[in-house]
C-alpha cells in the first residue's frame, strides 16, 4: 500500500510493468509450466502416509479364507443372471437374507434427455438390491458401503461373488461398530445416483425412485468393487469423482497399505510404480501417471461408481481387478483379505476421514503432490492475465490523461465506446446460453428435418452452434456504433482477461485439473490476441485453444498415455461421444463441466475472438 500511495514508486512500478510486460509474462508461463513438470519428479514430492490415528497404529489380522465360496457364488449368480436376462433381484434377495442381512430393494426409473448410444440406454428402469449387516450393540448411526455394480454380460460376477462371501464372513463377526451395506446397483452410475438420492431423500437430477425402507445412518466411507475374472494380477484404484472431487487421501493410503501387506500388485491409472526414480524413463513414467490423473479429473466425469458418493461427503474409491498376462496371479482369498482389512480399519474410525488431504495429485501410489505444491503453477498462469490487464489498464488511463491534457472532445468518443461493449458481451453470452439450451430442446425438431438419431442431433447441434459462434464478429459490428476506436478493443480485452482470470480461478478451486488444462492453453493466446498485427495467426491460435479443440487433443493425449494410441478419425468418433457424454453427465449426475464451458468459458473465448476481428 505504501508502495502505491507513493506516486514516485508507483510510477516506477507501472513503468516496470509496462516495459517488462512481455518478458514477465513469458517468464511466468515458463515457470508455471516447468513447475508443473517438476511436480512429477520424485524428490520434489512427498511420501504418502496415513494421517488418521484410528487407522494408523493398529494393524488388523485378516482371516478371510472363503475365496472358493466367492467363486461359487459368482458362478451361481452368472447362471441366474443369464436365465433372467438382467438383474436377478429375487435370487439376490434370497441369498442375502440367508446370509443374515436385512434386505431391501429400491426401484427407479429415469428417462435420459436423449438416448445414450454408447451404452444403448434411453428409458432406464432398474432395481437396486442392498443388504444391511447390522452391527451388534450399535444404534445404526454410522455405516460403510461395499457396492458392486451389476453389469450387463459376464462382467463383474466375481466381484458380486466376493461381496457375498465377505458378507457371510462379516456376519459372523462380533467386532463391527458400524453397519455395513452391501449394495448391488443396476445400470452402474444411474443406479448408484438413484440409490444415493433416495438414501439422502433428495432429488437433484429428476430421478423417480421408490420409497427407501432401510437405512443405516450416516455413511462414513464406501468402496466400489469391480472384478471380472477368477484370478487377478493386480488391483487398480480409481479416485477421480464427479466434478473432479477426490476422496480423502487416507482412503488411497489405506488401499495402498493393505495391498502392500498382502503382497498384491496395485496400480493407479493402470500404471505400476517403478522401483527406480532417478532415471529419465522413471520420471516420464510418473509424469504420464500425473497427466492421466489430470486428464481424468479435468473431464469432471466419475471414473467409477464411487464418484457419486463424494458429493455427500462420503469418502469412496473404486477397486478394479485387472487380469493381464503377468505370470503371478492372486486368488479371491487374497482380495477378500485386503477388503476385510480395509473394512476393519474403516470400522475402527472414530471420526469421518478428515485428517489427510482432499486436494492432491498422484504421480504414483506412494507419492503425492498436495494443493500447496501445485497451486503455484496456477498462480503463475493467472499472473499472466493479471499482468496483461494491468498493462492494458495503464495504457487506457494514460491515453485518457493525455487526451485530457490535450484535446478534450475525445472524451465524448470514449463514453459510447464503453457502453457499446455491452452489445458484444451480451451477444457472446446469448450464444453460450443457446449452446446450453438449444441442443437438448431442439432435438425433436432436428430429427424431423434431418436423417439423424436424437443423440447425433444433439451432438451435431452443439457443434453447429459452437462453430456458428465464430461468425459473430461480423454480425456484432453492425450493432456497434462508434466502437472502432483503439480504446474499444482494449477495454473489451481488459474485461475479457479479467473475466477469464476470475473464471479460471474459481474453477481451479473446485477442479484444479480442469482449470489447469484451460489455463495452460487459453492464457497465452488470450494474452497476445489483438486486432493489429498477424490477425490470421491469432485467429488460428485462438481456434487451437478453444475448449472444443482442447477436448479433442485431451482425448488424443489420453489415449496416447493410456497406451491405446488412436488415429485421428477414431479420435473424432471419441470426441463426438465425449460431447454426448459430457451432456449426459450434466443431466444425469449434475456434472458442472458442460454448463461451465457453455455459460462462461465459451462466451469469454468468443469475446477474445471478437477482439481479433475488431474493426
Amino acid at each position: 500500500m505504501g508502495l502505491l500511495s507513493d506516486p514516485n514508486r508507483r510510477r516506477a512500478l507501472s513503468r516496470l510493468i509496462t516495459r517488462l510486460n512481455t518478458p514477465l509474462c513469458i517468464m511466468s508461463y515458463i515457470v508455471g509450466l516447468s513447475w508443473f513438470l517438476g511436480l512429477s519428479f520424485q524428490p520434489f514430492t512427498l511420501r504418502t502416509y496415513i494421517s488418521e490415528n484410528a487407522m494408523g497404529s493398529t494393524m488388523v489380522e485378516e482371516q478371510f479364507t472363503h475365496g472358493d465360496r466367492a467363486l461359487s457364488y459368482a458362478r451361481e449368480f452368472a447362471s441366474v443372471k443369464k436365465k433372467v436376462r438382467g438383474m436377478p433381484v429375487a435370487w439376490l434377495e434370497k441369498t442375502m437374507r440367508t446370509l443374515g442381512l436385512e434386505v431391501y430393494t429400491q426401484s427407479f426409473t429415469r428417462t435420459l434427455p436423449f438416448p445414450d448410444e454408447t451404452t444403448e440406454r434411453y428409458m432406464v428402469k432398474g432395481t437396486n438390491v442392498y443388504g444391511i449387516l447390522r452391527a451388534p450393540r450399535a444404534a445404526s448411526t454410522e455405516s460403510l458401503v461395499l457396492s458392486v455394480p451389476c453389469s450387463e454380460g459376464d462382467h463383474n460376477n466375481q466381484a458380486l461373488g466376493l461381496a457375498l462371501a465377505l458378507a457371510s464372513y462379516f456376519r459372523g463377526q462380533i467386532y463391527w461398530a458400524k453397519d455395513i451395506i452391501f449394495l448391488v446397483n443396476e445400470y452402474d452410475l444411474i443406479g448408484m445416483e438413484a440409490w444415493l438420492e433416495a438414501y439422502h431423500d433428495v432429488n437433484i437430477t429428476g430421478m423417480e425412485s421408490s420409497v427407501m425402507m432401510g437405512r443405516a445412518g450416516a455413511i462414513q466411507a464406501a468402496v466400489s468393487l469391480e472384478i471380472s475374472s477368477d484370478v487377478i494380477t493386480s488391483l487398480d484404484i480409481a479416485v477421480e469423482g464427479l466434478n473432479g472431487q477426490l476422496p480423502n487421501l487416507d482412503m488411497v493410503n489405506l488401499f495402498y497399505a493393505f495391498c502392500q501387506k498382502n503382497g498384491l500388485l496395485c496400480t493407479i491409472q493402470g500404471k505400476l510404480q517403478r522401483g527406480d526414480w532417478d532415471s529419465f524413463p522413471a520420471y516420464l513414467h510418473s509424469l504420464e501417471t500425473t497427466m492421466l490423473m489430470v486428464l481424468k479429473q479435468g473431464s469432471g466425469r466419475p471414473q467409477g461408481d464411487h464418484g457419486l458418493f463424494l458429493r455427500y461427503h462420503i469418502e469412496a474409491i473404486t477397486m478394479r481387478g485387472i487380469n493381464s498376462f503377468r505370470q503371478y496371479k492372486y486368488d479371491m482369498s487374497t482380495i477378500g483379505k485386503t477388503l476385510e482389512g480395509m473394512f476393519r480399519k474403516l470400522n475402527n474410525l472414530l471420526e469421518r476421514l478428515h485428517q489427510s488431504y482432499f486436494f492432491y495429485l498422484l504421480p504414483s501410489l506412494s507419492r503425492f503432490v498436495s494443493i500447496g505444491m501445485y497451486m503455484p503453477v496456477f498462480g503463475c498462469l493467472i499472473l499472466i492475465l493479471v499482468l496483461k490487464s494491468l498493462d492494458l489498464w495503464m495504457k487506457l488511463t494514460r491515453s485518457e490523461s493525455v487526451e485530457e491534457d490535450g484535446v478534450s472532445d475525445t472524451e465524448q468518443e470514449l463514453k459510447p465506446g464503453i457502453l457499446s461493449l455491452v452489445a458484444p458481451i451480451l451477444i457472446c453470452h446469448v450464444t453460450g446460453l443457446s449452446l446450453y439450451y438449444l441442443p437438448v430442446m431442439g432435438q425433436h425438431l432436428a430429427i424431423e428435418h434431418f436423417p439423424v438419431s436424437e443423440s447425433e442431433a444433439v451432438v451435431l447441434t452443439v457443434i453447429a452452434i459452437y462453430v456458428a459462434g465464430l461468425a459473430l464478429p461480423h454480425n456484432t459490428h453492425r450493432v456497434l456504433t462508434g466502437a472502432g476506436t483503439e480504446q474499444g478493443w482494449m477495454m473489451l480485452k481488459l474485461i475479457s482477461l479479467l473475466y477469464l482470470a476470475v473464471q479460471l480461478g474459481c474453477i481451479a478451486l473446485i477442479n484444479f485439473s480442469l482449470g489447469f488444462l484451460l489455463a495452460i492453453t487459453m492464457v497465452p493466446v488470450a494474452a497476445v490476441v489483438q486486432p493489429v498485427g498477424p490477425r490470421v495467426l491469432y485467429a488460428v491460435l485462438l481456434i487451437l485453444v478453444t475448449p472444443a479443440t482442447t477436448l479433442f487433443f485431451s482425448i488424443f493425449l489420453y489415449k496416447e498415455l493410456d497406451e491405446h494410441p488412436l488415429g485421428l478419425l477414431e479420435c473424432w468418433q471419441l470426441f463426438l461421444q465425449a460431447i454426448a457424454g459430457g451432456l449426459l453427465d450434466h443431466y444425469l449426475y449434475g456434472s458442472i463441466v458442460f454448463p461451465f464451458i457453455a455459460f462462461f468459458i465459451y462466451p469469454c473465448w468468443l469475446q477474445l475472438w471478437n477482439i481479433v476481428f475488431w474493426k
Binding site: 500511495s5 506516486p7 450399535a138 455427500y312 478428515h354
Partner: protein, 585 residues
C-alpha cells in the same frame, strides 16, 4: 395352576412363601414386614432367528419412604431408598441401552428403551425447585450407576406435556413435575452392569442373576438394563402405598455370531452356564419360554426339559403361551443343577420378509452439505383396518435450528393435520427444541414427518473431542394406544410375566406401546482444529499488514515533495546557519 402353586408353597413351608402363595391366589394379604422379591426370566425366540432374554427382578416394599425416616432396609437397596426420600421422587425410570431394538425385525419388546441412557423422573408436588432437585438427582445417580448422567443439563432436559404419564399410583399429573432427558452418546458397559447387579438382594451370586455374566451379555446384539421405581397400591383397597423397584435387563443374542447360524437355542449357548437355583431371598423364581402367538396353534419348536406348567397370558393385544419353569418347585429343583432349557425348531428355517409389527418407525437425515438438512421420521401403521392416534415427541438440540414453518406431515400423499401441537423453541446454549404432536395414523399407511433445519456454527471451544464424529440427536418417542386383537382381562395382569402391569390400560380393547426411533448422527460445520497456529499467524499477519497500510493511506496527507538537492552537506550548512541566526538556504 393355583393348586400347583399351593403345593409348592406347602413344600417350601416358608413364611415368605406364604405371602407369595397368597398373592398367587389373588387374595390381598400381605405380611407385616412387607418386602418381597420376584425374579423372572423370559426367553422369547424372535422371528429373525435371534433370541431375546429378559430378566426382571421385582422388589416390593410396603413402606412409606417419603415423610418418615427409614433406617432398616432389607431387600430394597438402601442407596435408592435414600435417594427417593431425599429428593422426594414420585417415580424414577432409568435405562441404559447399548444397541437398538429393531422393531421391524424383532417385533415389539416388553419395554423399549432408547439407545444410550434415558432418565425420566416425576417429583412430588412438595418439591419447590424442580430443576435444582433434578440436577442434584442426576449427579447422585451418575455416581450410583457409574454413568455419565452428570452430562444431563438444561440443554438436553425437557418437560414433555403429553407423552409421559406417571406409571404408578399417582394423583399428580402436573407435567411441571416431570423431567426427561436422553444421552444418546452414552456407551453402556460392565462398569454400569456391576452397580446394577449390586442392587439385587442376592447380588450375582445366586438366583437368575448368576446368568448375568458380562462377557456373555456384551457378546450380543442388544443389551438394555433399566431401573423403574414407582409407588403402587399396597392392597386392593389401595389405602396405603407400597414401593416397587423393577430391575430389568434385556439382551438379544444374535443367531449368526453367537448361534453359529442355527436357530436352536439353549441356556448354555446363551449364557455358557446351566446350573440354576432360585435366589433364597426370592418369593418367586421362574423362567418363561414364549411358545407361540395367536396364529400358530401348535408350537413351531420343542422345548426340553418339559416345563412345570404352560401358562396362557394376554400380552400386547395378543394371547401368548408360555412354558413356565418354576425354580422353586420340587421336581425341578432336583434337576436344576444342570437345568439347560433347550429350544429345538421343528420345521426348516423359512426365510421370508419378516412380518412387520403393527407400529414401527424409521428416522433419518435428508439432504447433503453442511448448511441445511431435513429431519425425517416415517411412522408405519401396518394394521389392516384400524386407525389409531399416536403422540410423537421430538427433542432436538439447539445447534440444529429448526424451521417450524417447514413442518410437513404427509400420509398417503395427503396433508395430515395434527390435532395437538406443543412446540417449545430452543434457546441457544440453554434448552433444546421440544416438539410434541398428536397425529392420527390411518390404517395401513406410512406417515412422514419432515422438518428442515440449519446447522449452527458453534464457538470453537464448544466442540466436543472428536468433533468430526458428528453430533447426536436423541431418539424421538412415539407413544400409542394400539388396538388389540383380543379382549384382555385387565384383572389377571398381575400374574402374567413381566411388564404387563407397568402400563395399566383402562379397557381391554387397546394396549399401550412406546417406541423409540434411532438416534441420529449429524455433522456440523467443523473448523480444522489441527491448524490453529497457522490460522492465528495468518490472520495476525493479514490484519497487521492490511490495517497498517490502510491506516497509513487514510491518515497520511499526500503532497508533492520538492526535489531535494544538496543532501547532507546542505542540511549541515542549514543547521549552522540556524545557529548563527541567518535564514536557511
Amino acid at each position: 395352576m393355583a393348586a400347583l402353586w399351593l403345593l409348592c408353597a406347602v413344600a417350601l413351608g416358608l413364611g415368605r412363601g406364604r405371602s407369595w402363595a397368597a398373592e398367587g391366589l389373588g387374595a390381598p394379604d400381605f405380611p407385616e414386614l412387607g418386602d418381597s422379591l420376584r425374579e423372572e426370566l423370559v426367553i422369547a425366540p424372535l422371528q429373525s432367528g435371534d433370541v431375546a432374554a429378559t430378566f426382571q427382578f421385582r422388589t416390593r416394599w410396603d413402606s412409606e419412604l417419603l415423610g418418615q425416616e427409614v433406617f432398616h432396609y432389607r431387600l430394597f437397596p438402601k442407596a435408592l431408598g435414600q435417594v427417593i426420600s431425599k429428593y422426594s421422587v414420585q417415580e424414577l425410570h432409568l435405562s441404559f441401552t447399548h444397541g437398538f431394538w429393531r422393531s421391524r425385525a424383532w417385533g415389539h419388546p416388553f419395554l423399549q428403551a432408547p439407545a444410550g441412557a434415558e432418565l425420566w423422573v416425576w417429583f412430588q408436588d412438595s418439591v419447590s425447585d424442580v430443576d435444582q432437585t433434578w440436577k442434584e438427582l442426576t449427579n447422585i445417580l451418575s455416581g450410583i450407576f457409574c454413568a455419565s448422567l452428570n452430562f444431563i443439563d438444561s440443554t438436553n432436559t425437557v418437560t414433555p406435556t403429553a407423552s409421559f404419564k406417571p406409571m404408578g399410583l399417582s394423583n399428580v399429573t402436573d407435567h411441571r413435575l416431570l423431567r426427561y432427558a436422553i444421552l444418546p452418546r452414552e456407551v453402556v458397559c460392565t462398569e454400569n452392569l456391576t452397580p446394577w447387579k449390586k442392587l439385587l438382594p442376592c447380588g450375582s451370586r445366586a438366583g437368575l442373576a448368576v446368568l448375568l455374566k458380562a462377557e456373555r451379555l456384551f457378546h450380543s446384539s442388544y443389551h438394555s438394563q433399566a431401573v423403574h421405581i414407582r409407588p403402587i397400591c399396597k392392597d386392593s383397597q389401595c389405602l396405603r402405598v407400597s414401593w416397587e423397584l423393577r430391575q430389568t435387563l434385556t439382551v438379544v443374542f444374535d443367531m449368526f455370531s453367537t448361534g453359529q447360524g442355527k436357530r436352536d437355542w439353549s441356556l448354555f449357548k446363551m449364557f455358557t452356564r446351566t446350573g440354576l437355583e432360585a435366589c433364597p431371598l426370592a418369593s418367586q423364581s421362574k423362567i418363561y419360554v414364549a411358545l407361540s402367538s395367536r396364529d400358530q396353534e401348535n408350537e413351531p419348536f420343542d422345548v426340553s426339559p418339559p416345563p412345570t406348567s404352560v401358562q396362557e397370558v394376554s400380552f400386547q393385544g395378543d394371547r401368548r403361551r408360555y412354558a413356565v419353569y418354576d425354580l422353586q418347585s420340587r421336581e425341578l429343583s432336583n434337576s436344576s443343577r444342570n437345568l439347560n432349557i433347550m429350544l429345538k425348531w421343528k420345521g426348516p428355517q423359512e426365510k421370508g420378509d419378516p412380518l412387520a409389527p403393527v407400529l414401527y418407525t424409521q428416522r433419518y437425515i435428508g439432504g447433503y452439505g453442511l448448511q441445511k438438512g431435513e429431519l425425517n421420521t416415517v411412522i408405519y401403521n401396518s394394521h389392516p383396518y384400524r386407525a389409531f392416534p399416536i403422540i410423537f415427541m421430538e427433542t432436538v438440540p439447539w445447534y440444529l435450528r429448526l424451521y417450524v414453518h417447514t413442518l410437513v406431515i404427509t400420509t398417503k400423499g395427503k396433508d395430515n393435520k395434527p390435532s395437538y401441537i406443543h412446540y417449545q423453541p430452543a434457546k441457544d446454549r440453554l434448552c433444546p427444541h421440544l416438539l410434541e404432536m398428536l397425529i392420527q395414523l390411518p390404517a395401513n399407511s406410512a406417515t412422514k414427518i419432515t422438518i428442515q433445519f440449519e446447522r449452527a456454527l458453534l464457538k470453537w471451544t464448544e466442540y466436543p473431542p472428536d468433533p468430526n464424529h458428528g453430533f447426536y440427536v436423541s431418539p424421538s418417542t412415539v407413544s400409542a394406544l394400539l388396538p388389540s386383537v383380543i379382549g384382555m382381562k385387565t384383572d389377571s395382569m398381575e400374574e402374567s410375566p413381566l411388564f404387563t402391569t407397568l402400563f395399566p390400560s383402562s379397557d381391554g380393547s387397546s394396549y399401550f406401546v412406546r417406541l423409540y426411533t434411532e438416534p441420529l448422527l449429524v455433522n456440523l460445520p467443523t473448523p480444522d482444529f489441527s491448524m490453529p497456529y497457522n490460522v492465528i499467524c495468518l490472520t495476525c499477519t493479514v490484519v497487521a499488514v492490511g490495517y497498517g497500510s490502510f491506516y497509513n493511506l487514510l491518515t497520511r496527507t499526500l503532497q508533492r515533495e520538492e526535489p531535494r538537492t544538496g543532501g547532507l552537506a546542505k542540511r549541515l550548512a542549514n543547521i549552522i546557519r540556524k545557529l548563527r541566526g541567518v535564514p536557511a538556504l
